[in-house]
């Protein structure tokens, strides 16, 4: 379950901030093109989009860190748990 959650977070992180391809890629290309528009309003929108792009990069980084942490937790739990029982063996009793 933890590994599934980590994998999903990592996949979202890739979609949020992948090199050259994220939800804002096309919008940024259009907004930054002088042929689309010019003037003060266009400059404001460009600035705002660049700010949102930076926030997305931070969010993607946080998701990756969380995914790594979940993977680490899953590994620690696996190491702490006993191995599978052999056929015919009795489970360990209470101390």
């Amino acid at each position: 379950m933890l590994r599934d959650a980590a994998a999903q977070l990592r996949s979202i992180a890739v979609r949020v901030d992948c090199d050259g391809q994220h939800p804002l890629t096309h919008a940024l290309a259009l907004a930054r093109n002088d042929r689309t528009w010019k003037g003060g309003y266009a400059e404001n929108i460009r600035g705002a989009l660049a700010h949102q792009e930076r926030i997305l990069a931070d969010v993607a980084e946080a998701f990756r860190n969380a995914a790594n942490w979940l993977d680490q937790l899953a590994a620690e739990r696996d190491a702490a748990s006993p191995g599978p029982l052999l056929p015919g063996a009795c489970p360990p009793g209470p101390p």
Partner: protein, 298 residues
């Protein structure tokens, strides 16, 4: 809410089609980010069932915030674009309404006044006389013909005179034009000189000073009148040729003008002779009167 002028001012030089594409992209990005935030929240909820994970709650909130901001941005751009396009349509409708109501409307007349004696093109003042003409063309439409109308400025050649626009009436060939001009001036000088010389030759009976006076009088009357007649005759011949269909910048009008100048010169000479005789009569009267006055004192 911003006013129409502010909205238009925001879009200084823009392509409405590209801006509409941008709106679609922004809207799609906002939806994508919102979906991603929901997926991240789902993953987090599943992990929380096993361990207390809340470290990315803040980041999921950031993602939702991004989606909301970009969604608002998209809506704002769309609103401004709609307003701008609506203004354009209203402006065009008003212009067409004016034209349809009054033929050459007041707006068009103002435009015509503004275009004299020059116009602004790409930030440069182009001197000249311009008229705005309406061009109408038909093209096939959905079940009917559509009329395409456009207003096209056309330059009228010429130059600005003291009060009015003077259209050019000159030959294209500049050397020929200059030669004609100097020939005309030469003829005028010759007219004056010949008139004076003729009178000088005719009045051998007079003494030097008196003979010179007669020659000068003949030059000033016959000669100048002949030159003036030639000048007016040139204009009359030129105008007559144009009235008969000749090109105002062709050689035909120059030839017609020279013909008119010859006739005009002769007519002027006759008129000048009459003036000279009249002047002589006055001169004789004045001279006789002066002699009488002198006689009284003697």
């Amino acid at each position: 809410m911003s006013t129409g002028a502010t909205v238009s001012g925001g879009f200084v030089g823009f392509d409405p089609v590209e801006v509409q594409k941008l709106v679609v992209q922004l809207r799609g990005a906002a939806e994508d980010l919102n979906n991603m935030a929901n997926q991240a929240k789902g993953s987090l909820d599943r992990a929380v069932a096993l361990i207390p994970v809340n470290t990315i709650e803040y980041d999921i909130g950031q993602l939702r915030g991004c989606a909301a901001t970009i969604g608002e941005m998209s809506a704002d751009v769309q609103r401004r674009l709609d307003k701008f396009l609506q203004e354009q349509q209203l402006k065009e409708a008003a212009e067409w309404g004016e034209r349809a109501l009054g033929g050459a409307s007041e707006a068009l007349e103002r435009e015509l006044e503004r275009l004299v004696p020059g116009r602004w093109v790409g930030g440069d003042w182009i001197p000249g006389h311009w008229v705005v003409e309406e061009r109408v063309a038909t093209r096939p439409g959905p079940g009917f013909a559509l009329l395409d109308r456009e207003m096209v400025p056309r330059e009228v050649p010429g130059r600005l005179g003291p009060k009015t626009w003077i259209k050019p009436q000159a030959v294209h060939d500049v050397p020929l034009q200059k030669a004609g001009k100097w020939l005309g001036r030469g003829m005028n000088v010759l007219d004056v000189g010949l008139a004076g010389w003729g009178e000088w030759g005719r009045r051998k009976d007079l003494s030097g000073a008196e003979r010179l006076l007669h020659a000068g009088l003949a030059g000033a009357t016959e000669g100048i009148a002949s030159a003036g007649g030639g000048y007016l005759g040139y204009g009359a011949g030129f105008a007559a040729a144009i009235a008969l269909g000749a090109s105002p910048v062709g050689a035909v009008v120059v030839v017609a003008g020279i013909g008119g100048a010859i006739v005009g010169s002769e007519v002027g000479k006759v008129a000048g002779r009459a003036v000279k005789e009249f002047g002589k009569g006055i001169g004789r009267g004045v001279a006789g009167g002066a002699k009488k006055v002198v006689g009284w004192f003697k």
